[in-house]
């Protein structure tokens, strides 16, 4: 992870320029008036900014993380690496649009953070299907533990109950528990919250309000109160969502795997493969007939 971080540094060097330049969705695509000549995909990519909407810049730590992810997923030329087994072709990182923080210290357990977070997931399109979601904590640079230090931490995430009489949401809230270890040189902590988010995204909910309680158990053998107070300055978490974009423009690894499989088979095996494909088709036809 350290090496990846270093490599990402070369990508990060240009970050300053992000601040100064106007964003391209405010400009003609090529500086001329010929955007009609560009293929639809590029138009989709470029014309996504609503006029009058404020320009928002991403958090630099979040950007660094995504650059690291990019390096892990794609070659230097930008081609998706073929040795990946997962099926997602889209990863989105959202930073909370609103947050309310209540840091406090428990006498026994050492409660570190309690936060109310609001994530707006409007960018997720109807054709993007959620496969995995992760809460991503970044630690402050100044944090340095001794190599022996370990912390058992506990995270509770829940969707706060709605108190307003005009709230039509289901009264029960989701609660999610996770335990993990803090170690030396950790810069990021990733906590899988798929089970929490899946039903919300599936029900087309785009404003996610969650309450996060982050607790670390005190290690009785080490006087770690000071170190923990450093750790306490955890940044508010980002939300990472791993999606399968089913649109035609998106790259579908599964299709390519099928293609490769078919072309690496001997003629006999290929027949078998074709047979199984036809079988699938027949089954599809049968089942659609059944549905009708």
């Amino acid at each position: 992870s350290q090496t990846l971080e270093d490599e990402a540094g070369t990508l990060t060097s240009g970050e300053g320029s992000l601040e100064a330049k106007p964003l391209p969705w405010d400009q003609p695509l090529d500086g001329e008036n010929s955007s009609g000549l560009l293929p639809p995909l590029l138009k989709v990519l470029a014309n996504r900014h609503l006029p009058g909407a404020p320009r928002l810049q991403p958090d630099s730590r979040a950007l660094r993380y995504m650059k690291r992810l990019y390096k892990a997923y794609a070659t230097k030329e930008g081609i998706p690496k073929s040795d990946r087994s997962h099926l997602y072709n889209t990863v989105r990182l959202f930073t909370p649009s609103a947050q309310h923080q209540q840091p406090s210290w428990g006498q026994v357990t050492g409660v570190l953070q309690s936060m109310d977070l609001l994530f707006n997931l409007d960018r997720i399109t109807a054709l993007e299907h959620l496969l995995k979601s992760v809460l991503l904590y970044s630690l402050k640079n100044s944090v340095s533990f001794s190599s022996t230090t370990k912390y058992m931490c506990h995270l509770v995430v829940k969707e706060p109950e709605c108190s307003s009489p005009f709230c039509f949401r289901s009264p029960q809230s989701f609660t999610f528990n996770s335990q993990f270890e803090f170690r030396k040189n950790h810069k990021w902590i990733e906590i899988d919250v798929t089970t929490l988010l899946q039903p919300l995204v599936a029900s087309n909910k785009r404003n996610i309000h969650i309450a996060v309680n982050f607790t670390c158990l005190k290690d009785q053998q080490n006087p770690v109160q000071d170190e923990l107070s450093d750790v306490a300055i955890l940044m508010s978490p980002s939300l990472l969502v791993y999606l399968n974009d089913t649109s035609t423009q998106a790259y579908h690894r599964w299709n390519s795997l099928r293609y490769k499989r078919r072309h690496h088979l001997s003629p006999d095996q290929r027949d078998l493969f074709l047979f199984s494909s036809e079988e699938e088709l027949t089954w599809g036809r049968k089942s659609s007939r059944h549905r009708r």
Partner: protein, 135 residues
């Protein structure tokens, strides 16, 4: 055969065999034939570098060159290509000769900054030409 093995001083002109081999070379290794070319560009040239964060450079590649009169299995062209060539040569020269176009592509991973400030990693199909054909 005349020129082969003879000392250079005795043959001031180019041997015939050399000319012949050059003549045949153009069939074996024709120049300017339909093939894949590199075209490296940076997103800053398109003024997209402030929303496409990675990759910084992109080589979409392109296909350029002449399509041979008889496109064999090398290009994987359909019979239609040959028919169109014959039409051009024998029947109506206003019908274009087959074109050199991409036959296969590879995807490209892109890291973008969205208008709301979120960051997206996306993989787009058919962004880099990897093979050319005549169609």
């Amino acid at each position: 055969d005349k020129g082969i093995g003879e000392p250079k001083a005795k043959s001031p002109q180019m041997p015939i065999s050399y000319n012949l081999s050059e003549y045949f070379k153009q069939f074996l290794f024709p120049e300017n034939e339909c093939e894949l070319h590199d075209f490296k560009l940076s997103f800053s040239q398109l003024k997209w570098d402030n929303w496409i964060v990675a990759p910084q450079r992109y080589n979409p590649r392109y296909c350029k060159g002449d399509c041979p009169r008889i496109t064999g299995h090398r290009y994987g062209s359909p019979i239609h290509t040959m028919v169109q060539n014959i039409i051009y040569e024998k029947v109506d020269s206003s019908i274009p000769r087959p074109s050199c176009v991409p036959a296969k592509y590879s995807p490209l991973s892109v890291l973008t900054i969205e208008p709301d400030g979120s960051i997206a990693y996306k993989e787009y199909e058919d962004m880099i030409a990897t093979k050319c054909t005549c169609r």
